[in-house]
């Protein structure tokens, strides 16, 4: 994608003429040459034009970031495969990563090990990089993917303060952003899973209460159902836990069920 192509695409999308798009910042004829990639435009003028037309810079540059930094796309694929508990996909991604891409490679390994209930050896430097300190936790800026996949790297008691911090600062979270909400749900499920398996019931209940406060938006209704499953396990509500697994199985989510703790066998 070139700047000219993206300008044209954006302009047509918003139903603007070349004159409207150029917004008096550059001449219409110059703008027209930029759109055909005959002239280059400076960042200052481009920003002024996009601002004049209420077009988000983020929307405009997303394509270029995706093309220019392919590892980001990889990273999104990894998170998405994690969200789907799709081990096959993760194994495939693992094969395509050279260990030069250190962090991404180990992220993938870590997720696979977690889903297969194995522990993993990794260099201390990487481990340090993957573990978030409470101090680094910036609730405004980020999603929770890294935190969600790194739950197994912590001692349970080490992770509790991070969770408490997030719960206490609920109002600061950007819940309008789907990536934030979906990654947060994955974090809650990961933490809940450990709390349940390691019998920290008070922490589990705290997490359940928190999950209930998150609005029931469409994109996380599935995650809410999984959280409800843990709640049924804790309450020993066999009818409900079975109801949920039966429904998920009929709808094609056997793979996901296989990774959940089973009701009849108790924890572990």
């Amino acid at each position: 994608m070139t700047i000219g192509q993206q300008l044209k695409k954006t302009r047509l999308l918003f139903g603007l003429t070349q004159e409207e798009m150029s917004a008096g910042i550059v001449s219409e004829s110059f703008y027209s040459r930029v759109e055909r990639d005959k002239n280059a435009i400076t960042i200052n003028k481009l920003i002024a034009m996009l601002n004049a037309n209420n077009i988000s810079l983020n929307d405009f540059f997303k394509t270029f970031d995706n093309e220019g930094m392919p590892e980001l796309k990889r990273q999104r694929q990894i998170y998405s495969a994690f969200n789907d508990r799709d081990l096959d996909q993760l194994h495939q991604i693992e094969k395509t990563l050279s260990s030069k891409n250190d962090v991404l490679y180990f992220k993938t390994k870590l997720i696979i090990a977690t889903l297969e209930h194995r522990s993993i050896k990794m260099p201390d430097s990487i481990r340090k990089q993957l573990k978030t300190n409470l101090i680094d936790l910036d609730l405004k800026e980020q999603d929770f993917w890294d935190l969600a996949i790194s739950v197994p790297l912590y001692q349970f008691s080490e992770f509790t303060p991070l969770m408490s911090y997030i719960i206490a600062h609920f109002s600061k979270l950007d819940l309008d952003n789907p990536q934030v909400v979906i990654s947060l749900m994955n974090l809650l499920i990961g933490y809940l899973d450990r709390a349940y398996r390691e019998k920290h019931l008070a922490e589990a209940k705290k997490t359940l209460n928190f999950a209930n406060k998150i609005p029931n938006d469409f994109e996380i209704m599935f995650h809410k159902l999984i959280i409800k499953y843990y709640s049924a396990l804790i309450d020993k509500n066999l009818e409900m836990s079975k109801g949920i697994t039966d429904l998920l199985q009929i709808c094609g989510y056997q793979r996901y069920i296989d990774m959940l703790p089973q009701a009849n066998r108790g924890s572990k």
Partner: protein, 249 residues
């Protein structure tokens, strides 16, 4: 402004101007850019930032007057619409700078409908019906139509929705378009049940939903398909079971 920001980023990387520009950009030009004596062209800036593994979108945060991405704005409107939340819609209508005026139009139509104004004026009717001849089912158009489904006559709606199903399945569309098409299918099912249409229409929509990928993103759509499937097969008890699992604790 851009110059000062570049300098800030360079300092945070502990680079000299040479290290910052090596092999990408003329250093003396770069130096003028940092001092805001010259402007850098967009291609050079993108190249420079990506070379240092910096996202352009991140770098430019704070330079835009429109902070909300279109997708996030769309989601907020959709959620407010599904929750029949007029207050939020009105707030968005007044306080948002819409780049796409069609979105603004849809929000106004939604507000009117939630306020009980059921008759469309001529312009709105024309606008909604223009989609019957639409050929380009990109995510923007899918989103607009999703919010206007209950404006159509049933016979028109059927053609519209089935065209969309067909297009989306045949063409490998992106995830976002797929999501919107799935939401259109759900809304369509709801309308069909409300207006008590023939079962064949309902079955078509169910069949479409069952073809969606078995990923977490589409889980709720597939579950809803199962719900309607039970309804069509007169298994009210089974359908209620699903509904009960999905209500809030």
């Amino acid at each position: 402004m851009i110059g000062a920001h570049l300098k800030e980023v360079r300092k945070s990387l502990h680079f000299s101007q040479e290290q910052m520009t090596e092999g990408i950009l003329d250093r003396s030009l770069y130096s003028r850019v940092e001092n805001d004596c010259s402007e850098i062209n967009v291609n050079d800036l993108v190249k420079l930032l990506h070379y240092h593994r910096i996202l352009v979108a991140d770098f430019l945060r704070g330079f835009g007057t429109t902070s909300t991405d279109i997708e996030i704005l769309q989601n907020r409107i959709t959620t407010a619409y599904l929750n029949e939340d007029v207050v939020t819609l009105q707030d968005l209508y007044i306080n948002t700078k819409f780049a796409d005026v069609r979105m603004k139009k849809v929000v106004r139509i939604l507000i009117n409908r939630l306020n009980g104004v059921n008759n469309l004026d001529e312009r709105d009717r024309e606008f909604s019906y223009s989609f019957l001849n639409e050929d380009n089912w990109n995510s923007e158009n899918l989103w607009l139509v999703l919010h206007m489904l209950d404006l159509y006559e049933l016979s028109d709606l059927k053609i519209l929705v089935e065209t969309i199903f067909h297009k989306v399945i045949r063409k490998k569309t992106n995830e976002r378009s797929m999501q919107l098409a799935a939401q259109i299918a759900l809304k369509y099912l709801e309308i069909c049940c409300k207006r008590q249409t023939k079962n064949s229409e309902i079955k078509n929509a169910i069949a479409f939903l069952q073809k969606l990928p078995k990923t977490t993103n589409f889980a709720i759509h597939r579950i809803a398909a199962e719900y309607y499937n039970r309804l069509v097969n007169h298994d009210q008890e089974g359908a209620d079971k699903i509904a009960n699992l999905l209500v809030r604790n």
